[in-house]
Subunit: 235 residues, 2 copies
DNA sequence: CGGTGCGTTGACATTTCTCAACTGTTGTGG
DNA sequence: CCACAACAGTTGAGAAATGTCAACGCACCG
């Protein structure tokens, strides 16, 4: 409520090229909030009062279907923002949000005053347009991913778009969710995910190492993602 | 290139509450374009030079995978806009676009001058934010849809979110794509789609009438969309 | 120590895909 | 106007992928 240091915002991708005045104005509407794992930020259907930036830790956005089935929409790490669209042009949050780590540091920006500021501040509005475009691109990618009909294609597609680190013989990709959640993210069961990884290991394509994956044969992973390779016959 | 009547823009949802000056400025960057079915508007990878509004007719956005497999991303009818995100913050179009009907009337807005205008025109930027938010909500919905694991749940979910018309005993939902494309849109094969519809017909839930669907039992369709009902045992 | 929950594996049921044949429609050219 | 090709849509039979249920190991945490 009382505002934060503008410098805390400067590091965020959206505001990198924002004039000092705009940045200061936004900082005045923001407050820093530190959460513990499991702490809820907002619930689906609740009036959209603020949007957020992740400074450290992680946040999960999800919906609840009937019978408590949890549909994970996104995992967000440092630098990402969320709920801008809700605050800017929707009456209520379209999903639930909880912090995943202790501590998770967030910048919380009050919605109503931000909306007012936006109309008169072109530079800020352009920054928000860029931010929303980022979300759009991400979701479009996700749609493409989910349109793939085979489980291994979806997994391969997903993995190939994660930040990875070259590591000796292969590519190390950190899995930033529990396998259970990753499975749901990719519209498959945990069992299927486990078996796909098993097959990849047997085929020498990749090796599951607890919380990360070591890809040994990038080309074949690529082929799998595009449905060019099949992997059934070659047990 | 030479501009169009501002009144042509006023009808579009994005610009409903835009000041006269902004509207006129955009109109100056726009031109009216009439296409025939099959006419390409832009190709994937091409530099994003303009974005569009549909005035009449319809447009299809799609990607091409290897081997010419066409992945339909969206069908757009009158009032919708597309490629704003590409023009505003991406170097190239992320998909192909073609007109689907003869005639299809479009408003084409030149990208570069629009971007310049945007920075200084807060009202316009806010309008674009609203437009992008609409896209975001639509894509989020699509992600949720594709996350459903059963074919009939995806189809039910999809149908329940289409504009429909009450019609005597039931609900008439126009299918705005060929069944072949609808199937791909829902990550299933045309055969599976056909069989699901057959089962619904046998169960008295809905009746496929060529290019439209007559829903007889909305409640059960709802149940199917949420995985509450199964429809296997009750042939 | 127990408990709780994730991840793996196996056996089995079911859905969905694949391939193929057949129908009906549409549009074209004779 | 008809014959024909081309293509969407349907249906069937069999194969393959995936989901379901259950058991087990294992780590983590009280």
């Amino acid at each position: 409520m009382s505002g934060i240091e503008p410098s805390l915002l400067r590091g965020l991708p959206h505001f990198r090229s924002l004039p000092e005045a705009s940045l200061a104005a936004v900082a005045r509407l923001a407050r820093l909030r530190t959460c513990r794992a499991g702490e809820a930020l907002f619930a689906e259907g609740e009036p959209a009062r603020a949007f957020y930036f992740v400074r450290s830790g992680a946040v999960k956005l999800y919906r609840l279907g009937r019978e408590g089935r949890e549909q994970v929409l996104h995992h967000l790490g440092p630098g990402r923002s969320f709920a801008e669209a809700a605050v800017l042009s929707m009456p209520a949050y379209p999903a639930h949000a909880v912090a995943l780590e202790t501590p998770t540091e967030l910048v919380e920006v009050a919605g109503a005053p931000f909306r007012e500021r936006l109309a008169g501040d072109g530079e800020l509005a352009v920054a928000m347009v860029a931010s929303l475009s980022m979300w759009l691109a991400g979701l479009a990618d996700r749609v493409e991913e989910l349109s793939l009909t085979s489980a291994s294609a979806r997994l391969a597609h997903h993995l190939l778009r994660r930040p990875a680190r070259r590591e000796g013989e292969g590519l190390a990709i950190p899995l930033e969710m529990a396998k259970k959640e990753l499975a749901q993210h990719l519209a498959m069961t945990p069992e299927t995910l486990s078996r796909v990884l098993r097959r990849w290991q047997d085929a020498g394509i990749a090796r599951s190492q607890g919380t990360r994956l070591l890809v040994l044969d990038e080309q074949r992973l690529d082929a799998l993602a595009e449905g060019r390779e099949d992997l059934s016959g070659r047990a």
